[in-house]
Subunit: 308 residues, 2 copies
């Protein structure tokens, strides 16, 4: 291990981890010896891939100069991504509508710079991993982390590991009933129109009401409608995975009044069905406890596993 | 090992397995040295628990007299059931609406008769296990087995094992959009009204159209509506689990014209979203290949694992 590591008592660790939360809007990078000990962080907008990766590399090269060589890197990436190790596109962002990012080789970019293990997963699996290790789902083997923002997605942990089938789940695009007061808005998903993401993401709120959610007052009918859709999502997630907890994060959930409305409506919808209804909604549907850092912590957790 | 085992070259096996598919309507029992070698079977109606278990015991005791002692028993049971080993109700059918069966101790009944390992799972997990070992999902690590009949339920296999969280999933009760022509039928689920089971199970067909599905002609609008609901189910299952295959079984699926209608509508609904849409619907949404025997074969597969 090399590096000018006389600063702050840092460095000279036997292990240094890199974590990347690659979001569609921002990239967050972190470096440290452990997911709960971060020595440096950086955040920058997601621009074109080459420019974005140049900033990632710059951050970690500076970190290595300061603290020593990286042992492993974990990436929690926006998607869709290819997680099948045997696939020719493993480690790529695949069919994203985001300009310039279709079939971007994320793992390849990193592997060309560092000959070390690179863990690769979805942004939501990363956030789930972070919340599972250090946050609101600590100690649980079965839980769901949902983000409601520009898009809607979820990382599902089942039997202690992120659930990925032939690809990663995409629960944000599930079909749900229309809210009674929402019969005419066509939805804004470019694939499905009025799937959940088309009806309840941040862009859907803006398209339906003509202004961004952040600017809508707390008593606006948008929030009752939002609670209706998200409580139905929680119901379907409960029936599909029987989790011990559902964590609701993302920009839309920053509106604090939403969570109690969702809990109340969820209990009404479930109507006492199965023991799952017996759990107190306060303990069952919760906010992330790592806030906006779930994803980068989760990326470090994944790196740590590979670093051994 | 004891037994009058001179018959048919049977008996004298080092291992004998019992399989029980405990359905809400019928119990099916099977005995043999392996899930694909069944020496005797019996099927009888599900009456009150004591009487039903008396017939189960009678069948297996006769089998033991013929072939030798059982090594292990597997049960695939109607539910809801308690699958948590540490629970006080492990091995019970719990909050079922079926008269006399609430909190019935299935595993306890068997354990009182046989001091051997007893595997316990849901009927749909059992059917999924059977199809995974010897049927339409052979060789796959991620797939879903759905039954559409008196109720709607699914066994989900993820990363090679049945998915059970805090309890088993209950996807039959998920919320889905109403079909355009189905705006007034209230649904028949006693918990949720118009959840999927309330809209698309066998009893829902009968309640909506005033006659049983079996008696409706092939060109009746009921089938287009049924295909709409079941293709939306397949879409949500695809987005939730990203399975490699979905198997659709159960009495309602016995109407052969339904499957191609569901495949066609599913492809339209997915609209090319993610690589999952690239799979041919003919290979992706399929009938069970063990027919009505998936559950009992799966129960034997579970017994086999415990027999070592």
């Amino acid at each position: 291990m090399t590096g000018k590591n006389a600063n702050n008592g840092k460095g000279n660790t036997s292990r240094l981890l890199g974590g990347i939360e690659g979001g569609g809007t921002r990239f967050n990078c972190a470096i440290g010896p452990s997911p709960d000990e971060i020595w440096a962080r950086n955040s920058f907008p997601t621009t074109a891939p080459e420019e974005t990766f140049a900033r990632v590399v710059e951050f970690f090269k500076e970190g290595e100069a300061e603290y020593g060589a990286l042992s492993a890197i974990g990436v929690a990436s926006f998607g869709p991504v290819d997680l099948q190790q045997q696939s020719g596109y493993y480690g790529h962002i695949t069919t994203t509508p985001k300009p310039h990012w279709r079939y971007t080789d994320v793992v390849g970019h990193l592997k060309r710079m560092w000959d070390i293990p690179v863990a690769f997963d979805t942004d939501v699996n990363g956030a789930a991993r972070g919340e599972g290790a250090f946050g609101a789902a600590r100690g649980l083997d079965n839980f769901v982390y949902v983000t409601v923002g520009t898009g809607i997605g979820a990382g599902i942990v089942a039997h202690g590991r992120p659930l990925n089938g032939a690809m990663h789940p995409e629960v944000g695009h599930m079909r749900l009933p229309r809210a009674a007061e929402d019969l005419h808005f066509p939805g804004c998903c470019q694939y499905h129109g009025d799937c959940l993401e088309g009806l309840a993401s941040g862009p859907a709120i803006e398209a339906r009401w003509g202004q961004k959610g952040e600017t809508l007052p707390a008593d606006h009918p948008a929030w009752t409608m939002q609670a209706e859709y998200l409580s139905m999502l929680c119901m379907n997630l409960t029936l599909c995975y029987a989790p011990e907890r559902i964590i609701l994060g993302g920009g839309v959930m920053a509106r604090r009044q939403l969570l109690p409305m969702i809990r109340e409506r969820f209990a009404a919808l479930m109507n006492g069905y199965t023991e799952l209804s017996a759990v107190s909604p306060q303990d069952y549907i919760v906010p992330p406890s790592l806030g906006e850092r779930s994803g980068e912590v989760g990326a470090l957790v994944a790196a740590e596993r590979l670093a051994g």
